[in-house]
């Protein structure tokens, strides 16, 4: 089955998977996620937000 295409809600560009750098509290980590090549808007899927991102956040949000 053909993979579903995502269009950017801001500029209409077709999203492509790209290594994306996240920065939080002075630390960085990267993930391959959908990006808009025109305006750089990113799509963060819920499994990433509730999974790895939440885990990393909790680790960094130390006392």
């Amino acid at each position: 089955m053909e993979e579903r295409k995502w269009l950017c809600g801001r500029c209409g560009g077709e999203l492509v998977k790209r290594k994306t750098l996240f920065e939080y509290m002075g630390r960085t980590f990267s993930e391959n996620i959908l990006n808009c090549p025109k305006c750089s808007m990113v799509l963060i899927p819920s499994d990433l937000a509730l999974g790895r991102m939440a885990e990393v956040e909790e680790i960094l949000e130390d006392k």
Binding site: M25, G26, E57, E58, L60, E61, D62, K63
Partner: protein, 396 residues
């Protein structure tokens, strides 16, 4: 304008606090669905503290389940989130702070540390908080503002190395957790800082006494918690109770069984309301720590109530044996550097880390006097480390 060190008449302070409480309560009520529901959907202006005392309490569980519901500013105004794992569960308690919240705490650290050190003095900080705006970061910033020189060491894992750094840097003041600082004192009695500030854990009188005796220094106590943005109350040079950040918190001591406020001198649950919190106001938040207030005038001239003593966590103190009692007994023995304990079926098992060359006289006997009904087993360790950290684990 009331600040932490203002020595205003109590009536004037209470009027200021009631005004701030009204503002915080109404803001939380407006922003938080959970708080509205806790209040039964309605709220009226609080004209007196007896009106205030009818408000519901907030607990740790309320904060956990509220998530962002209790955040009262747009997310872009949040500068720092602290995530706390609650022991024994997967639940995470998240506390939110704006730049203003952090800034006011740094100002308290700045003012509160001035009696201990001055411009040009080195201050060793053996506290966690390497992350931006963490405990040691905020403390360092506060110290730098009056020219003291903070050294952010972090928690001690190698006591020899920590002692070496101290002998090179010759700190005027050492800030740290009570048990590790005591161990550092016994490991390196020659360091001799002028002042020590103990914080972030239960401070057994035997720990404070040992540090002060071995180093010949003044020991100051500070009580704070993440929910207060770390700073809450600290001793002045008269050591007659910890001066509360009255401009930031209204403090009550609550009877755990009746839920009613207790008078000064009676021990109960330390409960507070934030007065100027921007990100996440807390109203009648039950900290779970047990302590009592004093209103005896302090040697420094202050007549305002102070936090006289913090005895430990409510949950811990309700058990027998508990880790605070064991601290009091074992840390009165200079040969004991640290310990781990477990308890079950009437048997209290202890692993004791001893000073090199220690000739330990009867820790079992002292413990047996306290716990006549228990069987005490001890295992002695010497050397660098015990496996794992100081704890009392309940096997049953």
């Amino acid at each position: 304008m009331i600040t932490w060190s203002s020595d205003v008449p109590l009536e004037e302070l209470r009027a200021y606090q009631l005004k701030c409480i009204n503002e915080q309560v109404f803001r939380l009520f407006r922003c938080s669905r959970r708080y509205r529901s806790l209040c039964g959907g309605t709220i009226e202006t609080l004209d007196s503290f007896s009106d205030y005392e009818k408000l519901p309490f907030l607990s740790s569980d309320d904060i956990i389940s509220a998530g962002t519901d209790m955040v009262c500013v747009p997310q872009r105004e949040i500068r720092r989130i602290v995530s706390l794992k609650t022991s024994g569960t997967e639940n995470v308690k998240r506390i939110y702070f704006t730049s203003g919240d952090i800034e006011r705490n740094i100002s308290f650290f700045d003012e509160g540390m001035r009696p201990l050190c001055t411009a040009g003095d080195t201050v060793m900080i053996f506290m966690p908080g390497a992350a931006p705006d963490g405990i040691s970061g905020q403390l360092s910033e506060g110290l730098s503002r009056f020219g003291a020189i903070p050294v952010r060491y972090g928690l001690i894992s190698d006591y020899g190395e920590a002692a070496l750094r101290c002998s090179q840097l010759k700190p005027n003041t050492i800030v740290g957790l009570p048990v590790p600082v005591r161990r550092l004192a016994l490991t390196a009695p020659e360091i001799r800082p002028r002042n020590v500030l103990l914080s972030a854990d239960y401070v057994s009188p035997s720990v404070a006494d040992t540090v002060s005796r071995v180093w010949g220094c003044e020991v100051y106590l500070h009580y704070g918690l993440t929910e207060s943005c770390y700073g809450f109350a600290v001793e002045c040079p008269y050591h007659s109770g910890m001066h509360i950040r009255n401009d930031e918190f209204y403090v009550e001591i609550i009877d755990p069984s009746s839920g009613l406020p207790l008078p000064c001198g009676e021990e109960g649950i330390i409960t507070f309301t934030t007065l100027r919190r921007e990100a996440m106001p807390l109203v009648r938040y039950r900290t779970g720590d047990v302590g009592y207030l004093t209103e005896e005038p302090c040697g420094c001239g202050s007549k305002l109530p102070r936090l006289a003593r913090v005895s430990g966590r409510e949950k811990t103190l309700s058990r027998r044996p508990n880790i605070n009692e064991i601290d009091d007994i074992l840390f009165a023995l200079d040969d004991v550097l640290d310990y781990r304990a477990s308890y079950g079926s009437g048997v209290l098992s202890l692993e004791l880390l001893l000073r090199p060359g220690a000739e330990l006289c009867g820790p079992e006997r002292v413990l047996q006097e306290k716990y006549e009904e228990l069987t005490i087993q001890t295992e002695l360790w010497t050397g660098e480390q015990l496996p794992g950290k100081r704890a009392l684990e309940y096997r049953d």
